[in-house]
């Protein structure tokens, strides 16, 4: 049982929730850019939370299913494919994704999960470290993806319902991205401190899974800082000497030596991941307690929803 890749798309990779526990070895987390969409895609086909799914970036692949399967697609909108629900595909079905209409990253889960070797505990593709996925690289034409047996939903019991994506998916560039001030925020000059929250930034074309470079007002420190390399986290907003901030994303390095002027609230990292190069970002300040409270509320609501989905699939 396998899925044949007829066309790979712009950047299609196998991803799960990422590779934890290896930062001391210099191995980053990688994993899905929009972890919420990944988890809901898996839930809709009855998979465990950490099953491997395809992360489809902007322009999707063309895939032929050699056998019937149950799939679910979440995240960036792809016209012509029903999303946020379980779908049955017959043997021989060709899914052609084309370009996403809204958002940047879609997640395709199959019941059972794509078969992938777990490297250091995860199937996630880390392109720079060449780990996980298929030999640590994105999909290419001619690849065959096996599907793990078991799991899934019989055709006749396919639920007729779909999820309302609105609480879980927001690719609207008008929504502010909440940002916690970082250790070096106070080292910015006063014009830059104001600009960070008042001005608009644009996601530069060279942005990728490692980080989003943000074009806009050049930010400057009031005095140069000599820093040694320190650990980083997803969402860290770094300021390299050129003054163009970089928001670190899923495949960020484990350490870095640039000033950390902010941290994208964990609850908004998935939203930022759905913005496309060329789209705008506005930051709204949030304090750490507020950000942590919202993150916990979101995680609880998501866990409840996933539990409800699993219960309904069993009925």
């Amino acid at each position: 049982m396998s899925v044949e890749v007829l066309r790979a798309g712009l950047l299609t990779t196998l991803q799960d929730r990422g590779r934890g526990g290896c930062a001391m070895l210099g191995v980053g987390t990688a994993g899905a850019m929009d972890a919420v969409a990944l988890r809901l895609a898996n839930a809709l086909v009855g998979n465990a939370d950490d099953a491997a799914a395809l992360e489809i970036t902007l322009i999707g692949p063309r895939l032929r299913f050699e056998k019937a399967a149950t799939i679910a697609l979440t995240g960036a909108e792809h016209p012509g494919i029903a999303m946020w629900r379980a779908l049955h595909v017959d043997a021989g079905t060709v899914l052609d994704f084309g370009a996403a209409r809204h958002g940047a990253r879609a997640y395709l889960a199959v019941a059972g999960g794509f078969t992938a070797e777990r490297v250091l505990g995860s199937a996630s593709t880390d392109v720079n470290a060449r780990l996980g996925g298929i030999d640590g690289r994105p999909l290419r034409e001619g690849d065959r993806l096996a599907i793990d047996a078991g799991g899934g939903v019989a055709k006749e019991s396919h639920p007729a319902w779909s999820l309302d994506p609105r609480p879980w998916f927001d690719a609207d560039a008008g929504t502010p991205v909440r940002l916690i001030c970082g250790r070096h925020f106070g080292a910015l000059d006063s014009a830059s401190r104001a600009a960070l929250f008042e001005r608009e930034f644009r996601i530069a074309p060279e942005s990728n899974r490692v980080g989003f470079r943000l074009d806009g007002p050049r930010l400057a420190l009031s005095a140069p800082l000599e820093l040694v390399s320190e650990p980083l986290a997803a969402g860290t907003l770094q300021l390299p000497p050129g003054g163009q901030p970089i928001a670190l994303m899923a495949e960020h390095p484990t350490i870095g030596g640039y000033p950390r002027i902010g941290h994208v609230a964990a609850v908004d990292v998935a939203r930022l991941a759905q913005r496309r190069p060329g789209e705008t970002v506005r930051f709204a300040q949030i304090d750490l307690d507020g950000a942590q409270t919202r993150y916990l509320e979101r995680e609880r609501a998501l866990a409840r929803l996933i539990e409800t989905i699993h219960e309904r699939l069993l009925q």
């Binding site: 290896c22 390399s229 986290a233 860290t236 350490i255 994208v264 750490l288 609880r300």
Partner: protein
């Protein structure tokens, strides 16, 4: 370690899913040793919800799941974890932790394997043989791994061998290259772009995700370089 690791510890936030423990700001072996002592104490303590413990030169990140530290009647999760971390580090470790592993790393210096050895010798006003003698004389400490999986940043380089990075980085540095960047020496675990001065090559595989353990070196290990000739390199690489 006789003194409590919690001395002079400041705890910062790296977003709402990681704490950053700061033991200092610089590149010094004593501060780095405290980072490694704290990392091992925290690993041993098995605090709930810890996703990753990431040591660097003078700081240590604790990546955590805030839900594990939620207390409906108490403070925010990060404060609860901070208190637990301070409690762990206030207790001196039961055992002296100073017996680091020492790993010998064979290196074939110069020639095609170390194309910058002569430039380093000129920079240091030494003969190439003296550079090799000094590089092999020291015992180094793995300060941290980063940049790429298994890339060790080593403390302990003879000050005579300090040399700035190349003005223009190479697009490909071969796996196993032993190199100098400023006051540090390191080893490229895989083929990577890089700007450090290349002085030799080791046949050892520094990182293999399918091996257990995957990394030859871990933070806190000691390293000695041992000079080998090209024939020995060829045999050991085979």
């Amino acid at each position: 370690m006789s003194e409590a690791a919690g001395r002079d510890l400041s705890i910062e936030l790296l977003g709402e899913t990681a704490l950053l423990l700061r033991f200092g700001d610089g590149l010094d072996a004593a501060t780095n040793a405290r980072v490694h002592a704290a990392a091992s104490a925290l690993r041993a303590a098995q605090l709930p919800g810890l996703v990753d413990i990431a040591p660097a030169y003078a700081t240590l990140a604790l990546h955590y799941a805030p839900a594990a530290w939620f207390d409906a009647n108490g403070g925010p999760p990060w404060r609860n974890l901070e208190a637990a971390v301070r409690a762990v580090l206030a207790t001196p470790p039961a055992q002296d932790d100073s017996t680091s592993r020492v790993i010998d790393v064979p290196v074939c210096y110069g020639g095609d394997f170390g194309p910058d050895l002569d430039a380093l010798a000129t920079h240091a006003k030494l003969e190439a043989a003296d550079v090799i003698a000094r590089h092999t004389a020291a015992t180094y400490t793995v300060a941290m791994l980063g940049f790429a999986p298994g890339f060790p940043y080593l403390f302990g380089l003879d000050p005579a061998l300090h040399m700035p990075r190349r003005a223009s980085p190479r697009t490909r540095v071969p796996a196993g290259s032993v190199a100098i960047g400023g006051a540090q020496t390191g080893i490229y675990p895989s083929e990577l772009p890089g700007g450090w001065q290349l002085i030799g090559r080791t046949p050892l595989v520094l990182f293999d995700a399918r091996r257990d353990p995957p990394s030859l070196l871990v933070p806190g290990d000691c390293v000695r370089f041992v000079a080998i000739d090209a024939a020995a390199l060829a045999v050991r690489s085979a």
